[in-house]
Homo-oligomer: 441 residues x 2
């Protein structure tokens, strides 16, 4: 159902193209950048009724053949584990850490959107298909809303926000001297010798300046995006499929294209390689590291989970699912320099190295004009604005946004019909600024 | 890999035959009833190293092609969700309910096994490939042990213990007048009109006296056990598979064989039908009912989960996974007549109706001489012994055993190489009696 582009509606066509690269929308023709979006209330899960009868009617079924189509994707974002194998990321046995509330009436707060129109926070959330938002100011929950059947306890698919966890874990291992970011990838994963990563440095993986041929042409199943989707289990394999049946075997097949270190190019496969390095160096499964080093120490309220492939490999660049409140704890820990709940999660130097950002000139090569002045460091997006903000970002509107100057953390989880950040990001930047102003009042 | 019987080792052959019917071992030739079992330490997960490297070596891989072979099954019992889609059964947001400890030194407690040999409790646990045991006496944890990488927080696959939850939920709905157990199944699930259940009463489903043709011949893929395994996702489908792709569609294909109500015949498909009735009557997913009516009210420590098929149908007869301590809470709630943690979970009349048992004469038709004097009621096994004991039971050694007279609950979770209860049950009965004596001392 993804091979024939012509007959599918526009909103659907916008999903898969950007499944793995937030930049993809920028490459679409201009007409596609102002798609006709379905009214949010028309695609609420209450209205759609997916998987709500026993068995579901054919129209209400969500399975691997349609889970990333729209509006079925709205269901998938809160129910991924019901479709695919997953690995648990357990919270600790201790009671959840405190997240004190100090509500501010932000629903009606008015700001100017990217078109110069007045909009309230509540309307912005509705217009961007928000499932959950949590805003912290000085560590207190000043604003928290759920919609579309989402609950405080619901894990939500985070897509590329996953990368930012992999990046921080790798950066900590670099800080600890357990990974040399100037070494070749093959020092840790010799299996990649014949691939694009054969002569690539770890740092080039961490900051996505390694040059790997990874085409995403959704009308051409010979392009690499299909191999990634089929090997990982993101999409069902076609009859007679003979390709790689797990992520690691697929990574070995990818070739170099261009010069390593020359410029930023956003590629999910770098995050998979980085996760492989982390597991190889620690001897531990990514999900167990996430649990022991982050989830348990932060005193999370809920277990998180990650999708795994047929040999248990986590999708270290796209497969994490967690609740909004627990992600807010992550953001607050970062804002506080790596510690929270009386525990050191990361060294402050690791957070500082991330937040100061990477090479802004190289970033321009990435084709993301909607992220003006940004850089990418340790798998985080750095705004380089006056507030020192940085963020994790996933398609369809997943965000952890940290604004140190405003002492603010925003977690926004969405199921937007447009995958790539390009469509929403100009408005998102306006909203960040508005929220930073609102919480300070 | 399950079609060729000849070349496979005995232990492996014993697994699938009893995947869905604890009676199967009784039907094996006498020689098979004394299999050469692997020494437990030789098949410990520490030794086997399954899925412990990144990626796992071919020898250390567990996937859908070998997950129910032995010893791979030892890994599967604690990691099912890493292989298949699952639906969460959430605990509540409140702190876990108290399970006070009052340890007794039972490791060295000696009793006489079914062969007349002296054996200690610790040796019994080792010899029966126990992953976890929790013994409650008067609501206190007097004994708790874990082995084989199992932790207090690890959910363990429970196989047919699942049925007992489905049975209790159905019995409560009968008590509430929402299900008429004397009505035909088709009153609730008209889709089954053309099947074995077309003229079957709900009570005959609940107590497994309905007559359905369900052959388990593991050398003959035309027998119904294959359809169940392929439609549910328990086994990978063969190339070109054209059969049912979910449990409910498969159930519709099963035919009547014999006379309903005449005698007990253990059939997992009855539990799937019963779960269907429960969901149809309540309009709720089985896992959500489990969460709201049982897991949240009991104050569980951990989320549980259930395997689901391709349209989200839980395996209501075999797919539950939970921790030993949380199952101990279930047992204690039953021992107390349906209430625990200040909450009424089931009416006392429902528990009493279950514990008093069913028709012992009809039970004899079920071919389980290793359960002498038993009956089966509301999907529970009733011992009809002096202590009024009853239990839930799943293949490979999963048990919740309630002994009202001894004020004792035992949860035992195992990964025994022999699936069916017939092989271990004579020893199990000796152990129950010994523990009942030990806790009273």
């Amino acid at each position: 159902m993804i091979l024939s582009r012509r007959r599918r509606p526009l909103a659907e066509r916008l999903i898969l193209p950007a499944l793995l690269g937030a930049a993809s929308l920028a490459a679409l023709p201009a007409a596609a950048q102002a798609p006709q979006l379905p009214p949010p209330d028309a695609v609420s899960l209450d209205k759609l009724g997916y998987m709500s009868t026993f068995p579901p009617t054919p129209e209400q079924r969500v399975d691997l053949t349609n889970s990333y189509k729209y509006p079925q994707l709205r269901w998938t974002m809160q129910h991924l584990r019901e479709l695919v194998p997953t690995h648990n990321i357990r919270r600790g046995a201790a009671p959840a850490s405190a997240l004190p509330a100090a509500p501010k009436p932000l629903d009606g707060y008015v700001f100017e959107d990217d078109k110069g129109q007045k909009i309230t926070v509540a309307d912005w959330l509705k217009a961007t298909y928000t499932d959950a938002i949590v805003v912290l100011h000085k560590g207190r929950v000043v604003y928290e809303r759920y919609d579309n059947q989402m609950k405080p306890s619901s894990p939500h698919l985070l897509f590329s926000v996953t990368k930012s966890f992999t990046g921080l874990m790798a950066a900590q291992l670099v800080h600890d001297g357990k990974i040399d970011d100037q070494a070749l990838v093959t020092k840790y994963v010799p299996e990649l010798a014949g691939s694009a990563w054969g002569d690539m440095k770890v740092r080039e993986v961490m900051d996505m300046t390694g040059a790997v041929r990874f085409r995403e042409v959704y009308t051409d199943p010979t392009t690499e995006i299909f191999g990634y989707s089929w090997s990982s289990g993101l999409l069902p394999r076609p009859p007679g499929y003979q390709g790689a049946t797990n992520i690691y075997d697929f990574l070995k097949t990818l070739k170099k294209e261009g010069e390593h270190g020359a410029g930023f190019t956003y590629r999910t496969v770098h995050s998979e390689v980085l996760g492989w390095i982390v597991s190889r160096v620690t001897g531990r499964h990514w999900a167990d590291l996430m649990s022991e080093n982050i989830w348990q120490k932060l005193g999370m309220e809920e277990d998180a989970y990650v999708m795994v492939d047929s040999v248990g490999t986590p999708l270290q660049g796209a497969g994490l699912n967690a609740t909004a409140r627990d992600l807010a704890r992550v953001g607050e820990m970062l804002r506080l320099g790596g510690s929270f709940n009386g525990q050191k999660i990361f060294d402050k130097a690791v957070i500082d190295d991330t937040a100061k950002g990477g090479d802004r000139e190289k970033f321009k090569a990435g084709g993301m004009p909607f992220r003006p002045g940004y850089s990418y460091r340790n798998q985080w997006w750095i705004l380089h604005n006056a507030d020192g903000a940085y963020e994790a970002s996933g398609i369809h509107g997943q965000m952890i946004h940290i604004n140190p100057a405003a002492e603010m953390v925003v977690v926004k989880l969405s199921s937007h019909p447009v995958a790539g950040a390009g469509f929403t990001h100009p408005l998102t930047l306006k909203a960040w600024a508005a929220l930073a102003q609102a919480v300070r009042q």
